[in-house]
Amino acid sequence: MTHSDPLAPSAAPDLSVRVGDLTLANPVMPASGTFSEDLADVFDLDLLGAHVLKTIMHGTRPGNPTPRVCDLQGGMLNAIGIPSKGVAYFRDQMLPYWSGYRAPLVVSISAHSMDEFARLCAEVSLPGVAAIEANISCPNIEADGKAFAMRPDTTEQVMRRLRAATDLPLWAKMTPNTGEPVETALAAEAAGADALVTANTALGMAIDVRTRRPRLGNVMGGMSGPAMKPIALRMTYQCTRACTIPVIGCGGIATLDDVLEFLIAGASAVQVGTATFQSPTVMARLVAELADWTAAHGITDLSQVIGSVEMPDDEAA
């Protein structure tokens, strides 16, 4: 920054937010699986509040059969699976690259068993990693969307194992497919999670009526994009009310109003996924638009926005 007039709009208002012990320069970060170094061709990745990588698993895995994506009205389905090159590739090839950025690096991990999950967690707790996001919610890994985050007991067990395996800030990525969103959030908090991410994709399906085949090779997959926004916002609101740890909103965020909607509901930061596929520059624009908005509204600290939802009057209908 070389500007001298602190009142000029370009004086970059302070958009910093805290997520537990971590301070982010702004609340906008990518959602896991929708981001990679390829995006650096389109904007300066250091404009982001953090970098969140595609979930990695311990060994190498091919991922799901194709087609792996299809589009919907207001969203998409994916069943990428978690193609993974394994932990060694991450350590040797990816970490050095990402360490070159100022933005804190969040590493997303997953596993089929608690042992493997804890081992992977310890192995990725390396210098240069700012936080670990535990993807306990990927609906593609186990049959019919049953993941750790579907239930409070499995959530608490796996998060305790991860908590013991690392000293880094530990985020738990929740699923909208559970019938107990609040109970699982409380279980993650009780197990020592430093933040929650609400949420991963909603389990869905689509059929091509001409071929009578499912549109995804995996038959079912995760719905993301604006279509799931009301569900993700509801979970964000439920979790911020129930828990004391910060919540990171995620699901369908594409516009400044969406960012504000999640912050007002209580999110301390937001993740943007599918919108990047529609417009790869969207996250950089959201940061700029948020700066303009705070300036225009006299907001000096985003804590004036976060959780500021007003409850309706208690008037009769």
Binding site: D41, R68, N78, Q278, S279
Partner: protein, 281 residues
């Protein structure tokens, strides 16, 4: 589409030689060609015009009435001209996205992302080139003709179609000095055996150093077989469902045959052009 990407421009990091950009273009024309196909000509900024034949763009298609294409649609570059500031796509109206493209009128804006992927290569010893494609695949191969002319190579384009009058890009190929052979279904000249005979005659005459093709599994298998028998290399442009087009999401993988076994590569990043020998039909 959902987002209306604003015109706010965002910087890339210093030192990055960006291979692509998200840009707003303006439609110059969008006219029917051959009934099933349309040619879209855009006024495009120079930062998206450093193209290679075989590369593609991701187009943010407008919504046709009552339909909601959400993801971008991949389209091969049919023509590009950095000096004139123009970019062209030849597309077939297939579903919601391309129906949306068909609604574009001169003066409308269109958000494009590109150029993407790895284009065709043309090794120095590939002097005699044989191009074989069908339908919209010919769109993908069209810019090869210009590249061949610029590099002074001889190009033969075998254009396959249902009926002779549906064969596309004949004029364009000829304009770039290619020899064009139209084969079609009505007289059986497009059948695999007929094509095999046609191509083998040319190979025997020593007139084929490399193949280019795209799309169809049938044509791929034919060229793989001929290539293996006669030791002729070549390249194919492939397709796959995409989400990001940039390499981030891993939606667009296809299996390829490597020495050690089958590997997955991203059509949008490692491709869409691959060695014919490694492709799996």
């Amino acid at each position: 589409m959902t987002l209306i990407p604003s015109l706010l421009s965002v910087p890339v990091a210093p030192g990055i030689a960006a291979r692509c950009a998200e840009a707003r273009t303006v439609v110059l024309s969008n006219t029917p060609v051959n009934g099933e196909y349309r040619l879209l000509t855009l006024d495009a900024p120079v930062e998206v015009l450093a193209c290679q034949p075989g590369q593609f763009f991701q187009l943010l298609c407008p919504e046709p009435e009552g339909e909601h294409p959400f993801l971008r649609r991949p389209m091969s570059i049919y023509g590009y001209d950095a000096e004139a500031g123009q970019l062209q796509f030849l597309y077939k109206v297939a579903g919601a996205g391309t129906r949306g493209l068909a609604t574009l009128r001169p003066g409308d804006g269109l958000n494009v992302l590109g150029p993407l992927g790895q284009g065709f290569t043309m090794a120095d010893d590939w002097q005699d080139l044989l191009l074989l494609a069908r339908g919209v695949g010919l769109a993908t191969l069209a810019p090869l003709a210009r590249m061949a002319q610029q590099k002074g190579r001889r190009l033969t384009a075998i254009c396959s179609a249902r009926r002779p009058e549906l064969a596309m890009s004949v004029d364009l190929f000829q304009g770039y000095g290619a020899e064009v052979i139209v084969v079609h279904d009505e007289d059986g000249s497009s059948a695999p055996d007929a094509l095999r005979a046609l191509i083998e005659a040319r190979i025997t005459a020593g007139r084929v150093d490399a193949f280019y093709t795209c799309g169809s599994s049938r044509l791929l298998r034919l060229l793989q077989d001929l290539g293996a028998r006669h030791g002729i290399p070549g390249e194919i442009a492939m397709e796959q469902q995409m989400a990001c087009g940039l390499g981030m999401c891993q939606a667009c993988v296809r299996p390829f045959q490597e020495a050690d076994g089958i590997v997955h590569r991203r059509v949008c990043r490692e491709g869409p052009v691959f060695p014919i020998a490694e492709a799996i039909a």
